[in-house]
Symmetry: C2
Subunit: 528 residues, 2 copies
């Protein structure tokens, strides 16, 4: 069933000599299937097909694109248990989690389909002509968002479905009207094969143009670089490591004649303030909740809380002990792949070896079993401020507690933080009032601020912001989760004095799509 | 009156040893005033003050910011004729044009003030909590746009008021809630001094924080680079040359720990299709209109039509001759500064020396008089496709006519175009129908497509798009003109389960700002 080819549009190709296998951290051996690494020619052909497909695909109606996305969702469900089992074996994530993630992936596709049917995402703005204005008349100006062209997508290791082949980047780019070339993640090649085949079946069923979707298999960074440097690729979606994201981001600026945006979601340690009155009131409960968030998915979430801030008082030590106890009860669990497991152990070792950092809970070394187990470290606010290495992400179930002297010290320490996806504030109403200035500092550092909750669990909705200042992402203006993610792949075009018959539907007087528009400064769905 | 200092917030500074003068291409001598080039320390202080000011300024109400912008406009008007005269002498632009540009600048500030009073620009999106949802409840998620921090602005040579010290970049950044540090353009140092003093007076009158605005004087690229590399600067607005823009853009990515967006509007030759039936019908009229657009402001507009496409038929030669005649009647006129004038003559020489390019109207060399005069060149479509140098911008009143064989040849040739701010299509209804495919190609290359009009004259309104694919700008998603320009300086932040009292006004249940919001997917101004 798993045959190991590249999808160059509707064609299946395996012309390259280099083959790779899918290793299972669960079974500790290679899974069935021999995967053919895409040749440079195959990558070029995929992009060439995407470029040709764009001519047709960008002119499909929103209803047609919505039908395509819905059909992809249906085809993914049709893959049945084979998908769940393969993704489990390739990622080490439990089947229940994979089943939930499939629901999220399918829901995400359907949410973008609904966004398309509603249609207002094109942000139509119309300023009508003022022929009698003095000293100069005003032209008729009508602006809306159009797709930018073929998009390259790099899936994440930690969400083999929801941030991968048919994940948020692919769904939002296809919704925008952009063909997609996915570089399959080396950790879930079989999962990619299954999902890519589902997308191709949906494209064929919906009469989408050959090239609207391709998937190429890479080994090492070379194929990804070839994809990003291809002049016909107009944007890149990436979720992964800081080094991987930055390498694509810099190549897209420095090694192309035309720089393109790389929307890379990279590195975040997601600070959590645990405030004094709350600790006093609910020590056990919040220790359990934080422990659960740190260890969820073996700590392999972009939003994993890797950094906790507390204020030193008579309850601090017992809170830290309760948290350590809770963490200690969580058994070691299989990590996503061999290299992530090795990196976790090395990053943890480096953190614990920093001056002024003490291990509250050391955790075992389980890397020979491809497993990770929780650790907890502690340091002072002064030490944290002085050592940037304490802000390095440890990708796995490890968190560092920074003990601050008082509110002023905490605020001062938060100012030293780099950009983050999220920050969380756990406190009573009194705490929140007292630490309002600290919350204000956090807002400037993050894309999402969470009150009395933990950062893991990212809702896919209209208001979600999954992004944030560098190094969390390369561009804080955009989100990679939720409907606003579509904006990464759209750009505005203004039509000046365009005869009505040549205007796109979104800008026609009668507003045939019935979308919300801004007409002469007023929001309306009315015809003009 | 013109004293030549840097505005470091409210302080006037001239501590540096290096002094520069303002040369007038009109008077052919230096104007009064000795301008003190900012030292590295002064630049650091300006940014430090902007950073401190941001803490206060980002929390000003929209009404307070609107009042500030309106007061800047009033203070600019209060400068009276002294401003008009100085800008005329420094830029070589006629007083009537400067007066018009002052109106545009003031109108732009007031338009952003109106945008602030309306308030919906923050794009509030609210998804309310679903506590009973299965399998997981949904948190309350509320997202809106917040200012990104201190912004550096580099004014343009060709709009000493509207794209400079108090121009669109400054107006939109201040409206967004971001303090601004302007690097004064070396071509209009006195104009900058006057306008900067008006902004400072407005800031003081409106009780804005010290540092909300600074202006530093540069000589060479060093001060600008220092500004862009300062870690506290969070975005850059730039209008100018390709080399200048790219140097800032690359420094902002490669020479900072935290990359920041440089919104550079750089280089565009603004193709104009002049279609056969229209030429047949209105040869003289369109020749006059195109000539006027090429020579407007001595061709020193970002939107200057530097490239014309025609289809070879029996009327082509006479159209080209009529255009040349019209251009020949336009007298030489003073250019913006010595180096732009020298560059114009050199760029024109290079264009005319390319293989297969013939001079229809050669134009005189008037560079010793700091003047420019119109030229017209002609080439074949094949030659154009084969020689990328024919797409180099000639900044001045020169245009290249590309003669195509037929519609297929035109379409093919348009596909070779680089990104542009604008494209124009001049044709009868029959022409537009026949050349629909060519228009479709153009839409993919540009930010604004103009029907039966010319690209010069950029409306400042809601629907304007003054931007476009590279190399026209560094980021095709954004405009530098019109109210949407504010989006460059805002980023989204999501508040999750935030207690009501800590929410910003834009996200409160009762919608105190009465702004348009997207609540659970529905657009509404209603309270919740």
């Amino acid at each position: 069933m798993i045959s190991g080819y590249n999808f160059i549009g509707f064609d299946k190709r395996a012309s390259g000599e280099k083959k790779v296998a899918a290793f299972s951290t669960v079974l500790k051996n290679n899974l069935p299937g021999e995967f053919s690494v895409a040749t440079e020619k195959e990558i070029q052909e995929a992009v060439a097909k995407a470029t040709t497909a764009f001519e047709i695909y960008q002119r499909t109606s929103f209803a047609e694109r919505a039908e395509f996305l819905d059909t992809i969702a249906d085809e993914i469900i049709q893959l049945g248990d084979a998908l769940i089992e393969r993704a489990h074996l390739e990622s080490g994530l439990p089947e229940a989690r994979i089943t939930g993630e499939r629901g999220r992936t399918v829901g995400q596709l359907k949410l973008f389909a609904a966004l398309l049917r509603e249609g207002s995402f094109v942000e139509a703005i119309i300023d009508t002509a003022l022929p009698d204005r003095k000293p100069l008349p005003r032209s008729d100006l009508r602006r809306m968002m159009l797709p930018i062209g073929p998009v390259a997508v790099f899936g994440a290791s930690n969400f083999p479905l929801a941030f991968s082949t048919a994940g948020g980047d692919t769904a939002s780019a296809l919704a925008a009207g952009c063909p997609v070339v996915v570089k399959a993640h080396g950790s879930h090649l079989g999962t990619n094969q299954l999902v890519a085949s589902a997308i191709i079946r949906a494209a064929e069923k919906c009469n989408m143009p050959d090239g609207v979707f391709s998937s190429v298999i890479g080994a090492g960074s070379q194929p990804g670089q070839q994809l990003v440097k291809n002049p016909q690729i107009k944007a890149v979606g990436f979720t992964g490591s800081f080094s991987g994201g930055m390498s694509l981001f810099k190549a897209a600026i420095n090694e192309r004649e035309e720089p393109i945006p790389v929307y890379a979601e990279m590195s975040s340690i997601n600070p959590v303030l645990v405030l004094p009155n709350k600790i006093k009131q609910d020590c056990d409960t919040i220790a359990s909740q934080i422990s659960a968030s740190i260890t969820l998915g073996v700590g392999q979430f972009c939003t994993n809380p890797g950094l906790l801030f507390v204020i030193k008082d008579e309850n601090t030590d017992s809170f830290i002990q309760r948290l350590a106890q809770a963490l200690q009860q969580v058994p070691a669990a299989t990590m996503l792949n061999e290299s992530i497991c090795a990196a976790y152990h090395e990053e943890r070792r480096q953190l614990l070896s920093q001056q002024g950092v003490t291990a509250v809970l050391h955790g075992d070394d389980a890397k020979n079993d491809f497993k990770g187990i929780a650790s907890l470290a502690e340091t002072s606010s002064e030490n944290f401020r002085q050592n940037n290495a304490l802000q390095n992400e440890v990708f796995g179930p490890t968190s560092l507690i920074v003990v601050c002297d008082n509110e002023a010290d905490l605020k001062n320490t938060l100012q030293a933080l780099k950009g983050q996806l999220t920050a969380s504030i756990i406190g009573t109403v009194d705490d929140l009032k007292q630490f309002k200035n600290c919350a204000d500092v956090l807002v400037q550092k993050v894309g999402r601020v969470i009150y009395n909750g933990l950062p893991t669990g990212v809702e896919v909705s209209h208001a979600m912001m999954h992004g944030g200042p560098f190094p969390a992402t390369t561009f804080a203006h955009f989100t990679s989760v939720g409907t606003e993610a579509i904006k990464r792949f759209l750009r505005p075009v203004c039509y000046q004095d365009c005869p009505h018959e040549f205007l796109p539907d979104g800008l026609k007087d009668e507003n045939p799509l019935h979308i919300m528009r801004k007409v002469n400064g007023e929001f309306t769905r009315d015809a003009m």
